[in-house]
């Protein structure tokens, strides 16, 4: 059972894609917790399963993909959850719900909202901003057309769109990328969600626009007290907005901790390497960057044991390449999935190595 201050707890989530060539284990045993009222950033390179984790939460996995195992415990605060729906506000397992079920539909878009990477592509060019905004509002809230439109105008104003009354009748292609993303955010916020999932919301935008969208999201999060799951590959954005950080690699969470722990005391070799390989402004021109050798393995051909061991400089032969790494939790809540922080397993491995060496002689 999740803790009371936890809004969403994902336990052992596995989302697999069944292709002709084999099974792609896009999400392979993800454990994570989203505290209430906090911003959690999920970082990782493309193909690490960060988007698929978010889509699994919302039940948006399309065939040939399928959530094959695990639980997604959703515990909305008692005052928000209609008793008839949740049974006295007890946590619901979203993974157990059918992705087309009425229950999941009521949660998706209302309690959990999502914004996507490509604002231009996520809005339909055939309908006005107002049409798309009021559709969500009228679907989830008991409002008539007039009330929904007024609510929509106030939402557009809130996300910083100038002249919102006129913009309600504009088509998405008449707006810039930054404006479209603001419309997306307005749609996501329209029903007052408890959780906003933002999947690379600023990646397609200019730096100047990105800075303003991040300011806006941080402001809205502080005002409404909603939780935010912010998916990105940009560690600069993480440093700006996150309370907690989850680092993913090849479908598993390798580290979770507070933003300060991750940036100033990273435990997992992958997190350390990732932080070292980003160019940081102010370091001066023409500095060589440390790199991670090799590349992310192809999804159909995952290495056994710790998925990171072929690229890890600290990998222990005979241990990292055979056994799944243990999850180590430190006293300050910082968690990492690496055998190097598990002295007992390391000691046992060494003893075993000594023993086999003695037997050989």
């Amino acid at each position: 059972m999740p803790q009371p201050d936890v809004l969403l707890e994902v336990k052992g989530l596995k989302t697999h894609f069944f292709l002709d060539e084999g099974v792609v284990r896009a999400v392979d045993g993800v454990n994570l917790t989203l505290p209430r009222g906090k911003t959690v950033c999920v970082v990782g390179e493309s193909g690490c399963g960060k988007s698929m984790t978010a889509r699994s939460v919302l039940g948006l996995i399309e065939p040939p993909g399928k959530v094959v195992d695990g639980n997604i415990w959703w515990s909305p605060s008692v005052d928000r959850a209609p008793a008839a729906m949740t049974g006295n506000g007890a946590p619901i397992d979203l993974a157990a719900l059918d992705r087309r079920s009425e229950r999941l539909r009521q949660i998706r878009g209302k309690d959990i909202a999502m914004i996507f990477q490509e604002p231009m592509a996520s809005l339909s060019p055939m309908y006005t901003v107002g049409d798309q905004l009021t559709e969500t509002i009228r679907l989830h809230l008991p409002m008539n057309k007039r009330e929904a439109r007024d609510h929509g105008v106030s939402l557009l104003r809130r996300v910083g769109i100038p002249r919102p009354e006129q913009r309600m009748d504009a088509y998405p292609w008449q707006l810039s990328g930054g404006m479209c993303q603001r419309v997306m955010i307005a749609i996501a916020l329209s029903c007052g969600p408890s959780l906003l999932i933002a999947d690379e919301p600023t990646t397609a935008l200019d730096v100047t626009t990105q800075a303003r969208i991040i300011d806006l999201l941080a402001q809205l999060q502080a005002d409404t007290g909603m939780s935010m799951m912010f998916i990105t590959h940009d560690l600069g954005v993480v440093a700006e907005i996150a309370d907690e950080v989850i680092v993913m690699y090849l479908g598993t969470v390798v580290e979770q901790g507070s933003v300060d722990q991750i940036f100033h005391n990273p435990k997992h070799p992958y997190t350390r390497a990732l932080l070292a390989s980003i160019p940081t402004m102010g370091r001066g021109a023409r500095k060589r960057l440390p790199t991670i050798r090799g590349q992310v393995p192809p999804p159909l051909n995952r290495p056994p044991g710790c998925p990171y061991h072929p690229r890890c400089d600290l990998a222990v032969a005979g241990l990292c390449d055979t056994a799944d790494p243990p999850t180590v939790e430190f006293s300050d809540g910082h968690r990492t999935r690496c055998v190097l922080h598990d002295p007992q397993t390391l000691r046992e491995h060494e003893e075993r190595m000594v023993r086999t060496a003695q037997e050989d002689t």
Binding site: V207, Q210, A239, F263, M281, G282, R283, G284, Q295
Partner: protein, 361 residues
């Protein structure tokens, strides 16, 4: 060769260490009305009277928001766009100076192997129906003297240099990851031994760990082949890492150009300051420090640019008098930097080094 038809300019027009000089180059695209009798109703001034020089052996960065004309300027230099005005002076390895903009297409083709491009998107810039050998060997076909086996040798050598195995040269692009495809792209650009390489957002589509590898590779190849780069990017932290000098573009004009360290530590144009301030700081302990400069999302219409200084509509320092009416020229400020701002001498602008504290390594 078609030497007699080539426009040869006075070599004294270029400094001895200048490889290429763009002089008052403009690129206008007509806007046509729809319908059977389409008429030109206006022009988009994508590049507007730009002058800039690229010195031999340097990496010149070109930054700005999307739509500022940086890619168009690059395309004018390569020859994919014929500029509507101005000249592009290029120093041949013999020391002679030619004007690429005044040449016919046929004459220009002689320089195609000397100025090459690395494109942004590794997934769309390689023909899926050609093998790596065909893709990388394609530029060599211009040299009629090279036989099949010689081309294969050259391609094999080049693939090795960019970190790919020559045994893979008969494979098709789909068999390679994003980072590997970008290496193929680089191999194709370098195989004909160019002197100037235009890298147009060459690392923007890559993951963090691969990006560091490619940046280091570009630098190694520069040393080995004595290359000059024009590095077009919107990512200011990457630009700082690789460039010797940086030019900032806004609405088709260069607004500032300086040595990288000077530009980042003491920008002289308000637009540069705003760009630098928009880059997220990759350290959570620096959150909220430094000067907060935010630009509005309202990017002016490039077919109808504002009067006076193009930037005055978004500039927080602009006055209604001089900035709104008088167009600032690019001029030398503080001895070394060039900026196009009336108040470049007086404004106290914040750079990266001038913010609180240095980032921990």
């Amino acid at each position: 060769m078609t030497e007699q038809t080539t426009v040869t300019d006075d070599p004294a027009r270029l400094d001895q260490d200048t490889l290429l000089r763009v002089e008052n180059v403009s690129m206008d695209f007509p806007i046509r009305s729809r319908g059977l009798f389409s008429r030109t109703t206006g022009h988009v001034h994508a590049v507007n009277d730009v002058s800039l020089e690229i010195r031999s052996g340097e990496v010149l960065g070109l930054v700005g928001e999307s739509g500022c004309g940086k890619t168009t300027l690059g395309r004018c230099i390569v020859g994919t766009n014929a500029p509507t005005g101005g000249s592009i002076l290029y120093r041949k390895d013999t020391g002679d100076v030619v004007d690429l903009a005044a040449m016919s297409k046929k004459d220009r083709s002689a320089y195609q192997s000397e100025i090459r491009v690395v494109f942004q998107d590794p997934f769309t810039s390689l023909n899926p129906r050609m093998t790596i050998l065909q893709i990388v060997g394609d530029p060599l076909k211009n040299f009629a003297s090279l036989g099949r086996s010689e081309i294969e040798d050259r391609v094999a050598h080049m693939l090795q240099r960019v970190g790919l195995s020559p045994t893979h040269m008969h494979r098709y692009p789909h068999a390679f990851s994003g980072g590997e495809r970008q290496r193929v792209n680089i191999a194709r650009a370098l195989v004909a031994e160019p002197r100037l390489v235009i890298a147009d957002e060459a690392v923007s589509a890559l993951d963090v760990s691969v990006r560091a590898q490619i940046l280091n590779l570009l630098r190694d190849l520069q040393d080995e082949f004595n290359l000059t780069y024009l590095f077009i990017s919107h990512d200011l932290s990457v630009v700082e890492n690789i460039c010797d000098r940086v030019a900032v573009m806004y609405l088709g004009k260069i607004v500032e150009i300086a040595e990288t360290d000077d530009l980042y530590s003491a920008p002289r144009h308000p637009y540069t300051e705003a760009l630098l301030a928009a880059v997220p700081k990759a350290d959570p302990r620096l959150r909220g420090t430094g000067r907060r400069v935010r630009l509005s999302d309202e990017f002016p219409d490039p077919s109808n640019p504002p009067s006076g200084c193009f930037f005055h509509t978004r500039c927080s320092y602009a006055d209604d008098d001089r900035c709104a009416h008088e167009r600032p020229l690019l001029r030398t400020v503080a001895g070394v930097q060039q900026a196009a701002c009336h108040y470049a001498d007086e404004l106290d602008l914040a750079g990266v080094g001038t913010e609180a504290g240095q980032v921990e390594p």
